[in-house]
């Protein structure tokens, strides 16, 4: 039988999970009856709670955040346990054949409804998110933009709850081939390049942005027309608008 000293010595190893599988099982069994070790393990977990943050963060691929939300929400709608045997029974009916047409028709309908429901759910969640930023905006700024004969504008909704900007650009035509409409942050240490904005007539462009990592207080924003693929960190092309907070 393992002595209590062994468990004392291996508390941290249990918390960080470096014990061998059989040792880990043994430790779990011990914890069930040892209040002292339970308390020490909990204390150690609290002390090391942030250690996983030593990893470099990984930027989620496009769409993953929405997929994770849908996945978590979808878990509550997961098919009940009886669905599997019912499906098996339906398969048997398929083998018989007499019900094949009716079953496959209904099943196909259910599948298409399910796919459509998932798609609509994703769109609804994205729309809610975008509207949420606009609704909760603690600060809204607007500036007119004149581009030849076109008159449009730039609107910035700054949401202090979710800590993002929703930027809307409207009334501007698509850039000429080889050009992009570039969004910039104006900081007290200079202009900081952000993202291209996909402008097109008849449909406002929306982008959701975080603040730049470069040091300096954000004081405003600007739009310029730049050459496509330019890696220049400073604006080179004509400025369409600038907007101070």
């Amino acid at each position: 039988m393992t002595s209590h000293e062994w468990f004392i010595e291996h508390r941290t190893a249990f918390v960080i999970r470096t014990l061998e599988p059989d040792e880990e099982r043994s430790f779990r069994e011990h914890l069930a009856g040892c209040a002292e070790c339970r308390a020490e393990v909990e204390r150690s977990e609290r002390e090391l709670a942030w250690l996983p943050m030593g990893v470099a963060p990984v930027t989620p691929r496009p769409g993953l955040t929405r997929s994770l939300v849908d996945g978590a929400l979808g878990a509550r709608r997961r098919s009940p346990g009886w669905l599997v045997p019912v499906s098996l029974a339906a398969s048997l009916l398929l083998a018989v054949g007499s019900w094949f047409w009716a079953w496959s028709t209904v099943r196909g309908f259910e599948d298409s409804v399910s796919v459509e429901r998932e798609r609509l759910g994703r769109e609804l969640a994205m729309t809610r998110d975008t509207l949420g930023i606009i609704r909760q905006a603690g600060m809204v700024r607007h500036a007119d933009i004149t581009m030849g004969e076109h008159k449009g504008g730039l609107i910035i909704f700054a949401d202090t709850e979710t800590h993002r900007w929703n930027v809307m650009v409207y009334g501007l035509p698509a850039p000429l081939p080889g050009q992009v409409c570039q969004f910039w942050f104006i900081t007290d240490s200079g202009m900081v390049k952000s993202v291209p904005v996909q402008t097109q007539m008849g449909a406002p462009a929306f982008v959701t942005l975080g603040m730049p990592s470069a040091p300096g207080k954000v004081m405003g924003a600007a739009l310029t027309m730049e050459s496509e693929g330019s890696s220049n960190p400073a604006p080179q092309g004509p400025q369409l608008v600038h907007l101070m907070l």
Binding site: A49, P57, L68, A72, K217
Partner: protein, 217 residues
């Protein structure tokens, strides 16, 4: 400059506008509010939690599993648990984000200890290098403004204070998910040496992390 996802989670900090410290986003009050809203099944709270925590959870899972798809599955499991079992989360005994980090890490380790993964991991570790230069320099635009970056920097500072041989075993144990015997085999050192180095390292780490024990993102 990498093309950002226009729908990707941002990291706008009001502190940047105030001239305050960057990245401190999840205040105690907001975390409590977030948990209460999760308990009330507010789906927007889940969206917020996913946006804040996903980059870090992905970092944990991908670092251990070396497989982006599998890491995403693990993160999905963590959020599903958070959504379904938030009522079991005891706010007094921990914090929301560390709870998620722990779930993710434990799930990743459970997968890692499957036989197939163990073999793949062993192969990958043949080209193992410890932490590089330990740099925490942002790798992507806006990364330093990401919620939690200040915690990341503090953890790295604590890790950098360790002697190389201790940092190596911590990396293999904590961030790669290896057991004592696997570390000993990997480094070709006695099991007792592994345990000693880990004990000394974690004694120091506790001190280094004490200042952020009760921090929030």
């Amino acid at each position: 400059m990498p093309e950002p996802d226009p729908r990707s989670p941002g990291s706008f900090s009001p502190d940047r506008l105030d001239g305050g410290p960057a990245g401190r986003l999840l205040s105690l009050e907001r975390e409590a509010s977030l948990q209460a809203r999760l308990l009330a099944r507010d789906e927007r709270a889940l969206v917020e939690l996913v946006e804040i925590a996903t980059p870090w959870l992905l970092g944990v899972a991908q670092g251990m599993l070396s497989d982006r798809d599998e890491a995403e599955e693990v993160v999905q499991e963590a959020f599903t648990i958070a959504w379904r079992r938030v009522d079991l989360f005891d706010r007094e005994s921990g914090r929301l984000i560390p709870w998620l980090l722990r779930i993710t890490r434990n799930r990743a380790i459970d997968r890692l200890r499957g036989q197939r993964r163990r073999v793949l991991k062993a192969r990958r570790l043949e080209s193992f290098q410890v932490f590089g230069d330990g740099s925490t320099a942002p790798q992507e635009p806006d990364e330093a403004a990401r919620p939690g970056w200040h915690v990341h920097e503090t953890v790295h500072a604590a890790l950098r204070q360790l002697p190389d041989e201790q940092r190596t075993v911590v990396h293999l144990a904590y961030f790669e998910g290896l057991t004592h015997s696997e570390i000993a085999g990997q480094l070709g050192i006695p099991l007792g040496t592994v345990k000693t180095r880990l004990r000394l390292a974690f004694d120091k780490l506790r001190g280094g992390l004490a200042s952020i024990r009760d921090w929030v993102l």
